[in-house]
């Protein structure tokens, strides 16, 4: 078997450079919105094992996780400057590209027999790999394995990166999807929990960075022209041309990064539209169908459940809160046959309350475990009887970001829109009780949504109005929610 450098391998290599660097930069952007890493699922303040921020939160006033966000430079983050929505779009789009590329690579690797270049046939390869390390430590280059393009330590390293590290990153990434966690809680526990998966995903990212640094050093020491000739022409020839072309390819990859950054900074809505169309395929095709099956034990309830978003500061809300929300009313209307106006007692009386102990997934990356009690959303939907043309549910909040959330990226009343098809999924809840107590103000009193297969921002808090609509193009900026309008998140929150 001739272990050479066929055209598909060379093309895959350079495309891999593109996707991997896009993944690294967008990964740092995602990290910047909650630049702290934990091992425990409750992300308890102060328990992080790593932090990448100078910010110290106040102890004498309420802060939320929006205040903890960091602003990373575009040199390391795509697009940089606190653009989580853009970072997520680039990360997920690049993941799709990377997985497709990896799949073609695996198929061709095994179909053409090139997998032999990575397969360790004998235990003696570990002794040879150690000898190679010693040779490198002597500032010499070790011999290549007979009839193979790599030395022993290179062979083992590439095998580890291709068959262990890359799948590991995909698996730990998938373990951070709320829909996958909700449907397969045991899968997430394989990694030690949601935050452990996030931490491991970050360590995998670091491993890739270390690999890239050593890989580049190796190419340099073995001969940049010679090795890039292999990866461009498929054989050692025209070293000067290979050097020039390799630099040109790298420049093209850098140009793609610059273009992606500028496009995201100047026209985030079009990035959202284009990349969102690509991302929605696996999101709706694979993740939408997953149902939440969570039932965390009581001992896992978070002592301090984190929160994103500050409560309404309007006078009417404060007055209602003082009177335990007896004056609060929920208006349910729009495209329904039976519009309703309910007070808290009326809402509670609609049906037997349902309780669920679940993991809350904030879009920023932190999680907490809470117990929520309330009315199944499907029950309310059945009672109001949506008209045939109703396709979405709009949850209106009493929070006004113009006045209530100084850390927010925009103003106006908070709202979120859910696909009506989600309403009857398990553990879709209008919650009025948290951990056995009336819903606290900071968690959305008197009523909030729980949608356990979705990221947290979809679960509107401080709800006072629910509208059934046929389209959301004319609500807000027409993107399906306040966060979608202002931070350019995708409308579907399964990942």
């Amino acid at each position: 078997m001739l272990l050479d450098y066929p055209a598909w391998l060379r093309i895959d290599h350079w495309l891999n450079v593109l996707f991997l660097t896009l993944l690294l930069r967008s990964g740092f952007e995602i990290l910047s919105t909650h630049p702290k890493l934990y091992w425990h699922a409750d992300s308890a303040p102060g328990t992080e094992w790593a932090r990448f921020t100078r910010k110290v939160m106040p102890t004498n006033k309420l802060y939320d996780t929006l205040d903890e966000e960091e602003d990373y430079h575009p040199l390391i983050a795509l697009p940089g400057h606190r653009e989580l929505g853009m970072g997520r779009h680039w990360h997920f789009a690049a993941v799709i590209g990377w997985i497709l590329l990896g799949t073609t690579y695996y198929i061709l690797l095994f179909a053409t027999g090139q997998w032999h270049r990575y397969w360790p046939y004998s235990w003696s390869i570990f002794t040879e790999a150690w000898n190679d390390i010693v040779t490198y430590a002597c500032f010499n280059l070790p011999p290549l394995l007979p009839g193979e393009p790599l030395d022993a330590i290179q062979k083992l390293t590439y095998a580890a990166v291709i068959f262990v590290l890359a799948p590991f990153q995909i698996l730990t990434g998938a373990a951070q999807s709320p829909a996958i966690e909700a449907r397969f809680p045991r899968y997430v526990r394989l990694f030690g929990g949601r935050q452990a998966a996030r931490s491991l995903h970050f360590l995998g990212l670091l491993a890739f960075v270390v690999f890239i640094v050593i890989h580049l050093a190796m190419v340099f020491f073995w001969g940049w022209g010679r090795l890039t000739a292999l990866m461009i022409f498929g054989s050692v020839r025209n070293a000067y041309w290979a050097t020039g072309l390799s630099l040109l390819i790298i420049a093209a990859i850098v140009a793609v990064h610059i273009a992606a950054t500028l496009w995201s900074q100047r026209s985030p809505s079009s990035v959202r539209r284009v990349l969102g169309a690509l991302i929605s395929l696996p999101r709706k095709g694979l993740l939408r169908r997953l149902d939440s099956r969570q039932n965390y034990p009581v001992r896992m309830l978070s002592t301090e459940h984190r929160v994103n978003g500050k409560p309404p500061t309007a006078e009417f809300y404060k007055v209602m809160a003082v009177h335990n929300f007896v004056d609060w009313r929920l208006r349910v209307g729009g495209l329904v046959e039976q519009p309703m106006t309910l007070d808290l007692a009326g809402l509670r009386a609609l049906a037997e309350p349902q309780t669920q102990r679940v993991l809350h997934n904030c879009v920023q990356g932190w999680t907490s475990v809470g117990e929520w009690t309330g009315l199944p959303l499907g029950t309310l939907v059945d009672l109001v009887q949506p008209l045939p043309q109703a396709r979405y549910i709009c949850f209106m909040s009493m929070q006004d970001n113009s006045t209530d959330e100084p850390s927010a990226e925009g103003g106006g009343q908070f709202y979120e829109i859910l696909d009506l098809k989600l309403a009857h999924k398990p553990q879709m809840l209008l919650a009025y009780v948290m951990n056995g107590q009336p819903l606290p103000i900071k968690h959305g009193a008197p009523l909030r949504l729980r949608a356990e297969t979705q990221v947290g921002f979809k679960m509107a808090k401080w709800i006072n109005q629910i509208e059934f609509v046929d389209d959301y193009a004319h609500i807000g900026k027409g993107r399906g929610g306040w966060r979608e309008d202002n931070v350019y998140y995708g409308m579907d929150g399964e990942i």
């Binding site: 303040p45 102060g46 328990t47 992080e48 094992w49 790593a50 932090r51 990448f52 921020t53 100078r54 110290v56 939160m57 102890t59 802060y63 903890e68 010693v134 040779t135 430590a137 002597c138 500032f139 010499n140």
Partner: protein
């Protein structure tokens, strides 16, 4: 406060100690593998091996702040001594070891150098507050 900070006192101490034990191990290897063993080389290697082992032990004695800190300082002194002494030993012809003069391609020496650099690097991160060592605590509440 640094923009990058870790709260991994045991991991950091273990990693630093592994580097220090690597330095000790490579000196032991040198002692065993050397064809000519001048007396001063035996004494030097003995001091380095014992010093490294004692320093490693001290980093885990959490009776007060002083003992673990002394372990780190001792480790740093040994590493610095090696990092200064090693290049000199290559440049100057030492009695009984003249064959080593000018030889930079010896794996044990370069690996020992890597261990010393690793320990000192970790110690610097502890001094600058990026890391904490065993016995120290982070006062994070957020």
């Amino acid at each position: 406060m640094t923009s990058i900070a870790f709260n991994l006192p045991r991991t950091v101490t273990l990693a630093a100690d592994a580097a220090l034990l690597g330095l000790a191990g490579l000196h032991a290897y040198m002692l065993v593998a050397a064809v000519h063993r001048p007396g001063y080389l035996v004494v030097y290697c003995g001091v380095m091996i014992i010093g490294c082992v004692v320093a490693v032990g001290a980093t885990w004695i959490d009776v007060d702040d002083i003992v673990p800190a002394a372990g780190w300082v001792a480790g740093a002194i040994l590493c610095m001594a090696f990092m200064i002494g090693y290049p000199i030993s290559r440049m100057v012809s030492l009695p009984g070891l003249s064959a080593l003069t000018g030889r930079w391609d010896l794996a044990p020496g370069n690996l020992a150098l890597a261990c010393a650099v690793a320990f000192l690097g970790l110690y610097l991160t502890v001094l600058f507050g990026v890391n904490v060592a065993f016995g120290q605590r982070r006062g994070w509440y957020d």
